[in-house]
């Protein structure tokens, strides 16, 4: 079993001198293939910083991060962008679909960025949309979808380029309980059927039923619940 994400002694400090604030403090974390990990923490505990660092959006003050075996250290902005495109799938709060793209185009767009052929992309998008049961909605704009449907499109978009790992930032924040559970179940299903890994950051401890591991972010380190 190979590790999809390794974080070694990762520290992130904001500011300097007396006013310095350590958000991540020598944090160690490993996610293996096929694992779906939940990271819990109240707001202000550094969840966003943790996710940004793991997702190659933020360079930590010290420590090293590996995604699918590749170290993020010494990569420039362009290389990190390319890595995010190929290796990482993101799910954001409130789905954050592009308002001017139809459902299917949301998926085709990321495929186009990753330079998939049109035919490949079509096949992959069809397969994902069908599995997530939003195939009938493929020609609609996000504004015509419900919150749950939007998140399902977001799941499909995140998996489109077959990333090594998926990061979900509070995917259930804008959904009610039952729809939220549905979305989390679908993320779990995809992790299993794609044979990849996922990390979900949330503050809602009712959504943990399908997670393989649950960790708490406390004082800048992750601890087993």
């Amino acid at each position: 079993m190979s590790a999809k994400l390794i974080m070694k002694q990762v520290t992130k400090t904001y500011g300097d001198g007396d006013g310095a604030m350590t958000v991540l403090n020598n944090l160690d974390f490993t996610v293996n293939e096929g694992e779906f990990v939940a990271v819990l923490g109240p707001s202000g505990s550094g969840k966003s910083t943790f996710l940004s660092a793991a997702g190659a959006l933020l360079t930590p003050t010290s420590g090293e991060i590996f995604i699918d075996g590749e170290s993020l250290r010494d990569k420039d902005k362009g290389a990190l962008t390319e890595l995010r495109l190929q290796k990482i799938g993101f799910m954001f709060q409130s789905a954050q679909l592009l308002p001017f793209l139809k459902v299917e185009e949301q998926l085709l767009y990321v495929a186009k960025l990753a330079k998939l052929t049109t035919k490949e992309a079509k096949v992959r998008a069809t397969c994902l949309l069908k599995r997530l049961e939003i195939w009938e909605r493929r020609n609609q704009y996000p504004e015509q979808l419900s919150g749950g449907e939007k998140q399902r499109v977001a799941i499909a978009r995140a998996w489109m380029n077959k990333p090594a790992i998926l990061f979900a930032d509070e995917p259930t924040a804008s959904l009610d309980y039952s729809r939220g559970r549905e979305v989390v179940r679908m993320i779990a299903d995809e992790v299993r059927s794609e044979g990849k890994a996922a990390v979900m950051v949330t503050h809602d401890d009712r959504m943990l039923e399908w997670c393989d591991r649950v960790l708490h972010l406390e004082d800048g380190v992750l601890v087993q619940a």
Partner: protein, 383 residues
């Protein structure tokens, strides 16, 4: 372009509004440009259509033809360098004529030329005149519109001399007045009449009238290389050799007229760029979070920059194409008396400049997009 086109498809109203503004501005640019060119042409077409590229003028004449006085010696000197056929004298005299049979009174400019030389007018209707026969003139077709016909007799109010119109030429204006071409014999008669009859300027004129008794010319038109032109200028102290362009811009009123229109055109270009820049900047700020998401998902900055520039390019080219059609349509509908002229070269130059200014305006938005951090995508609740 994937994003650019789909976004425009989705927000049709927003982008159509921008396009309408661009359309109006670019139409105005083209129209005022056409008007400026048209006015310029109506002003000095006689000079512009002359096959001469340099003119010899008196050095203290401020490049103005009518202030300049040259005689046979200057002509001989110029001909010595340029050759007999490439240097020819030109007399210019503004006056008012009346036509006996047509109840016409019009301001005109006499051009006295060598009818066998390079300045001989191309008659489009009727017959030309020769150097030997006095009392005939070829006139600009604008006089035809006011009632002058072939065979009409026109008289100069100042001297009382009269000519029979033998033919018409097209597009021959000087300082917004139609040109009347007469030969050298008539010119001498006119000048000598003025010398004998005139009082105040008689001393000046006799000074520059040379020993053979020929009346002086105003300028000498040249068709020479620039080396020959400077050679002629170097030979004589009292003369200056100016280019056709310089001669045109020294026509009374020409520079004032053109400069004010040019200023309008320049402002329109700036306005076009600023309006577009502001619109796109506001739209871009509105989309800041979208750009953050796109960057987090792995969209390259160059892709986003092309997306913005692409939209501006599409909008400006489309609105320019429409306004070109509009300009053509309007040009056909305009009455002939309205001076409007837009040749292909001016049109292409104006269009390229317009697109260039639009792209310049879009750069502010591109800079703004470059500043958006992908980090903004994480931890945001609002859509």
């Amino acid at each position: 372009m994937f994003l650019a086109l789909r976004e425009m498809r989705h927000s049709k109203a927003r982008y159509s509004l921008i396009m309408v503004i661009m359309l109006l501005v670019s139409f105005l640019v083209l129209f005022v440009t056409g008007l400026a060119r048209g006015l310029a042409y109506a002003n000095i077409s006689a000079l512009e259509n002359m096959p001469a590229n340099y003119f010899v003028v008196q050095s203290d004449a401020d490049h103005t033809f009518r202030r300049s006085q040259l005689g046979e010696s200057e002509l001989a000197a110029a001909r010595a360098v340029a050759g007999e056929a490439k240097a020819t004298p030109l007399g210019v005299q503004t006056s008012t004529i009346t036509a006996a049979d047509a109840d016409v009174k019009a301001d005109i400019t006499f051009f006295a030329i060598d009818m066998a030389g390079m300045l001989a007018p191309e008659v489009t209707e009727g017959a030309g005149i020769t150097n030997e026969v006095q009392g005939s003139a070829v006139v600009d077709s604008k006089l035809e519109e006011s009632g002058v016909t072939i065979g009409s007799t026109i008289s100069d109010q100042a001297t009382g001399m009269s000519w029979t119109v033998s033919g018409f030429v097209k597009d021959s204006s000087y300082s917004h007045t139609p040109v009347v071409y007469i030969n050298q014999l008539d010119w001498q008669a006119m000048k000598q009449g003025a010398v004998q009859g005139g009082s105040s300027d008689s001393t000046d004129s006799t000074d520059s009238t040379d020993s053979t008794g020929n009346a002086p010319y105003n300028v000498i038109a040249l068709k020479v290389s620039s080396a020959q032109a400077s050679e002629i200028a170097a030979q004589q102290q009292s003369v200056e050799v100016i280019t056709q362009k310089q001669a045109i811009s020294s026509v009374p009123g020409y520079a004032a007229e053109q400069n004010s229109l040019l200023m309008m055109i320049a402002f329109l270009f700036v306005i076009a760029a600023v309006v577009l820049a502001v619109f796109f900047y506001v739209i871009t700020i509105q989309k800041t979070s979208q750009f953050g998401i796109l960057k987090a998902m792995g969209t390259k900055m160059s892709y986003l920059a092309w997306s913005v520039v692409g939209q501006v390019l599409i909008l400006s080219v489309a609105s320019l194409a429409l306004s070109l059609l509009l300009t053509f349509g309007m040009n056909m509908g305009l009455p002939d008396t309205m001076p409007f002229q837009l040749d292909g070269q001016t049109m292409i130059l104006t269009s390229l400049l317009f697109i260039g200014m639009s792209l310049l305006g879009s750069l502010i938005s591109v800079a703004r997009v470059a500043k958006v951090d992908a980090l903004e995508a994480i931890g945001r609740t609002g859509a």
